[in-house]
């Protein structure tokens, strides 16, 4: 079989392959811990973790149950991500339209975006506290660059014919930005939101490891202090599942916008 098979696998086959991958993964894990290749205090077995997860669903640990920790994380994450999108997308579009703004912001932005979100943790805690504000700033630092960059690229590479049409139809700057650049950039913006959502979720957990008093990351730190590796792994699995679901939702949104535009 060639690397790029000519026949696309059906949806059912894709599902089956995905589940197959999961089985192999958990099988390897179970094998490593079950046959004593790795001692349980380094790597607890999947069964031990599953048991711990079910326990945490209705028994509080570090002040809250696992679902409560997840909700608390999601709340912060939602706020930080919305803030990043609400500032990043308009700023990106304006930068794509106004060359002067582009020249002013680009250099600063291109240096700042290479600073890992977690590097902002000390200042986030210092400026906004460890409750809500600090973690939100860290999520913001993670989610903001892709939101801005994709809106910017979308606006910058709008087909000239649309801009010419808008000009000849007498549109002003603001109307061009809102009614031409924004809708023309939607596919690019949605991809940016998807990447931003992923990076934001990653940074959130990093932030919660250090700041905050609830949330999945906080629960994991407490689990570490209590030398409860199953708790830490439960947190990791919860992060993975929630991140996967968020991405799935945004992927659907991406496909929807493309379908509406007649691009598929």
């Amino acid at each position: 079989m060639s690397a790029r098979s000519s026949r696309r696998p059906s949806n059912l086959e894709i599902w089956a392959l995905g589940i197959g991958g999961l089985i192999v993964f958990f099988g390897l894990w179970a094998g490593l811990s079950g046959f004593g290749l790795v001692p349980p205090r380094f790597l607890p077995s999947p069964a031990a973790v599953a048991e711990r997860m079910f326990f945490l669903i209705d028994h509080p640990f570090a002040g809250a149950t696992l679902p409560q920790h997840v909700l608390s994380s999601l709340g912060r994450y939602g706020l930080g991500f919305l803030l990043a999108a609400a500032i990043g997308v308009p700023l990106g579009l304006f930068m794509g339209w106004y060359g002067l703004l582009d020249d002013i912001v680009s250099t600063v932005f291109n240096a700042l975006r290479f600073i890992a979100p977690i590097a902002w943790v000390p200042f986030a805690a210092l400026w906004f506290g460890t409750g809500v504000g600090g973690p939100i700033m860290v999520i913001f630092a993670g989610a903001f660059p892709p939101c801005l960059i994709n809106a910017y690229r979308g606006a910058k590479f709008v087909e000239p014919k649309f801009l010419e049409a808008a000009h000849t139809l007498g549109a002003g700057n603001l109307r061009i930005i809102v009614e031409v650049l924004l809708p023309a950039s939607i596919p690019s913006i949605v991809s940016g939101l998807r990447v931003g959502a992923g990076l934001g979720w990653q940074s959130l957990v990093g932030a919660e490891l250090i700041v905050a008093s609830s949330g999945v990351g906080y629960m994991m730190v407490q689990g570490q202090s209590a030398v409860s590796t199953p708790t830490v792994l439960s947190g990791m699995i919860a992060i993975g599942i929630v991140g996967y679901c968020v991405d799935l939702g945004l992927r659907e949104m991406e496909a929807f916008t493309r379908r509406r535009r007649g691009l598929v």
């Binding site: 014919k161 649309f162 010419e164 049409a165 808008a166 000009h167 000849t168 139809l169 007498g170 549109a171 002003g172 109307r175 009614e179 031409v180 809708p183 023309a184 939607i186 535009r261 007649g262």
Partner: protein
């Protein structure tokens, strides 16, 4: 008075001279077609009238005012339609009217009228990608016409359509021009199309482009009553039509031959 005047217009792209001393005057309510070999700069002429491009020397005026920027008084119909894919047919046509600040009741009225003229009734809520090429171009023409522009600039508007659709659109445009005469500058490489549609046909030379010859079609059309014939093929069979077409072909052919040498 809505006229278009090119006065000694030259255009250089870097070191390439695209246009040299173009002189052309489109009279009020006159339909002028520019034909020429590909790459001769005929589209550049139209873009300069639209304010999307500017002469390196000479001036382009619409009415008495020199063209300095694009605007809804000079509506453009592009070859690639350039409809906004994210707007419905209605919203595409509405866009220019909103930019002009036309009150909403009047906008609805004018859009309804233009939809009727262009046979687009019932497609208000459709999106461009749901329509055929011919219908998309009808929307683009409606979008231009609804603004009641001083001049209408059409850049090979039927070039992207299949042969049958193109013929229908040409007949439709003639009908439209009869109901509602406009000052039109029409760019095409189709000689028959130019003779069928235009009052005068301007022939351009190869690069550096300039107007080589201007052929009057209108007087012959009126003398021979082309307008009484409803179908394009009936007009194309007329001896007067064939004569003009051949004349323009020969003139263009000289340009092609020189190009090869």
């Amino acid at each position: 008075m809505s006229t278009i005047t090119f006065e000694n217009v030259g255009r250089k792209f870097d070191s390439v001279v695209a246009l040299e001393k173009v002189n052309l005057h489109v009279r009020d309510k006159e339909f002028v077609a520019i034909v020429g070999p590909s790459g001769c700069g005929k589209t550049t002429c139209l873009r300069m009238a639209a304010g999307l491009d500017f002469p390196s020397s000479g001036t382009v005026r619409v009415g008495t005012r020199e063209v300095v920027a694009p605007g809804p008084d000079r509506a453009v119909v592009f070859q690639q339609f350039a409809l906004f894919p994210w707007k419905s047919v209605y919203d595409n046509i509405d866009f220019g009217l909103r930019n002009k600040g036309v009150p909403s009741a009047e906008r609805a009225h004018r859009i309804a009228a233009v939809l009727k003229v262009m046979n687009l009734e019932g497609y208000e809520r459709s999106f461009p990608h749901q329509l055929s090429g011919g219908m998309q171009q009808r929307v683009a023409i409606a979008r231009a016409y609804v603004l009641d522009p001083v001049v209408l600039l059409m850049d090979e508007p039927f070039g992207a359509l299949d042969a049958q659709t193109r013929v229908l659109m040409q007949e439709e445009l003639v009908r439209l021009a009869r109901v509602n005469p406009r000052t039109v500058l029409f760019i095409t490489h189709g000689v028959e199309e130019a003779v069928y549609l235009a009052d005068r046909v301007a022939i351009m030379t190869r690069r550096p482009g300039c107007i080589k010859e201007i052929i009057d079609v209108k007087s012959l059309r009126e003398a021979e009553h082309w307008n009484s014939l409803p179908r394009i093929e009936d007009v194309m069979d007329l001896e007067s039509f064939v004569h003009l077409r051949t004349m323009i072909w020969k003139s263009l052919r000289e340009e092609k031959v020189e190009e090869r040498n």
